[in-house]
Point group: C2
Chain length 329, copies 2
């Protein structure tokens, strides 16, 4: 066999240090530099999902892993809801490209002493969340491990629409969001403190309700850029701004800060806006549209695309609102 | 929200016990009974890969998870080879449907102290194995965890061919294999005993060479059934026999027992045929063809399809040759 070192792409030396040192986004960036893309990859790494040409069709493909203790805790809710959440994470990525998820394949790693009933209820949750978009759980793999984890890969169909990437936002576009912001993050804060109410927030965390149909609707309405809010509104708009080479101004007065979020924030002595700006578990969709566009049902304007870079909230750079970053400590 | 219990499929009660009690195949079977398939699922769970209709195209999709300590050990070989093996496992499943893998998406879970260099070399291995079939690594996800695991999902194109399932074997067909049998399993036995030679066997384990082009070639030649040898020849032919409702007779004198395998078996006081009949890590392809068919290059006849059920080797039921079964103890 040939020396594997001989096949490395020139100019991509191996850095020292751990993945914690580099951080999630640094690691992803380093990985992407080593991965050339073939001609049948229409959209490659760096967006919510890849888009591939297969026998003349455009196929959307995305994978998301949920790890016990990181993305869910078995004692915070039933297996059924873990299945719903796991499927929602991938199906929302498909929607964020303007597509409809049509099938899932699922890899599960589990300790040998996991209850069969837990695994079957997980499958029920995956199945029922997939059914929200008429998708099927079409296959999978199971392995023994010490750690419980679920990797859901979704495939989707654009049904003739053009995929909406993160990189098409234009100066002058409006920024609009569809779906809840902050509900699930507030619910997670409640659960983290050992509480179970307000139930409406805990349920929002356990079983998010991404606005799936809004994805293709936004594509159909000519959205210039889109992503799902999985890292938090500021962080995800930051991805759009960076990919598009623009700045984004958010008007916080346009953001809906729901009453239960206000109540919990008051009880915990927190600013409710923090959850709205940084919470990712609701899987809302945020998109940009040309000024004067007729927005699809459910989208609310929350800001505008400007020259420059980065995201400003009410004219100021947000601090401590970077959203989720795995591996950081 | 509605009561999730109300959405369970009637007649599918939740069994008691652990996944170890039920075993891998029992769990998969129980899962499949809970998962109805939509009309765009052309081939669902139970084959090497799913086949889905997306905008008029037939798309092959399969996922495989490799867990550190179960499917690989970082001290048994470099990250690059783990990447090659991980990609090979999924791409061989695509080939076993008669298709060519065109893209991978990869989910990795890793402890925060994993060296960045290890992750990047893993990606190099994934990239180079994918390049064997002109596929790209088009996306992925990364999460912190306590356990290192890699889930590779492959998408593939049938390029106009009809997918070959496990269920089409007909009485009177010949059974033929393409690729190595037993090499990687013998290499694993060597590594498990703390040795590093014969190098040719260790390399076969670290970096399998599935006969990717033989998959579409077999489909083109009219193969009636096919699967990749990932659980072991006897176990995988057992899957074909069960899915097709036939029996399979294997003639062990037709199996190539390579010299290095014989040498290691002699040294360890083992029957070399054991590895050939039960080893799965080489990802050979085994297929059935109508009697008198002209076999594609590389396929060697090793048996025939008969009435009845199960797999016989030289006329006898093999004992202790069930192949890999996760969760069993």
């Amino acid at each position: 066999m040939s020396d594997p070192a001989a096949k490395s792409i020139p100019g991509t030396p191996l850095p020292e240090g751990t993945v914690a040192d580099l951080g999630e986004f640094g690691l992803i960036s380093a990985l992407q530099r080593r991965l050339p893309q073939g001609s049948d990859v229409l959209i490659g790494p760096g967006d919510d999902a890849a888009v591939l040409e297969v026998d003349g069709a455009s196929v959307v493909l995305t994978t998301d892993v949920l790890v016990s203790g990181v993305h869910f805790r078995p004692d915070w809710g039933p297996a059924y809801d873990v299945g719903r959440r796991a499927a929602a994470a991938s199906l929302a990525d498909v929607a964020a490209m303007g597509a409809r998820g049509t099938a899932l394949v699922v890899a599960m790693t589990a300790p040998a002493d996991l209850e069969v009933a837990w695994a079957l209820r997980l499958a029920d949750g995956l199945r029922d969340e997939a059914a929200e978009v008429r998708a099927s759980v079409a296959g999978g793999d199971i392995s023994r491990s010490t750690e419980l984890a679920v990797t859901v890969t979704a495939i989707g169909s654009l049904e003739g629409l053009r995929a909406v990437t993160r990189s098409g936002a234009q100066v002058g576009d409006v920024v609009a969001v569809c779906g809840r912001l902050g509900w699930a993050e507030a619910g997670l804060a409640v659960l983290s403190r050992g509480f179970r109410s307000p139930r409406v927030l805990v349920d929002a965390y356990r079983r998010p309700e991404p606005p799936y149909v809004a994805g293709p609707a936004a594509a159909s309405a000519g959205a210039t850029a889109m992503c799902d809010v999985s890292d938090g509104l500021v962080a995800d708009l930051g991805h759009v701004a960076a990919a598009s080479g623009v700045g984004i101004d958010v008007d916080s007065s346009a953001l809906d800060v729901a009453e239960p979020i206000q109540a919990v924030a008051a009880a915990y002595g927190m600013d409710p806006l923090h959850w709205v700006l940084t919470g990712g578990h609701d899987h809302a969709l945020v998109a940009t549209f040309g000024a004067g566009s007729s927005l699809p049902e459910g989208f609310v304007v929350i800001g505008e695309v400007v020259t420059g870079e980065g995201v400003r909230v009410d004219g100021a750079e947000p601090e401590g609102l970077g959203g989720h970053a795995h591996f950081s400590r």
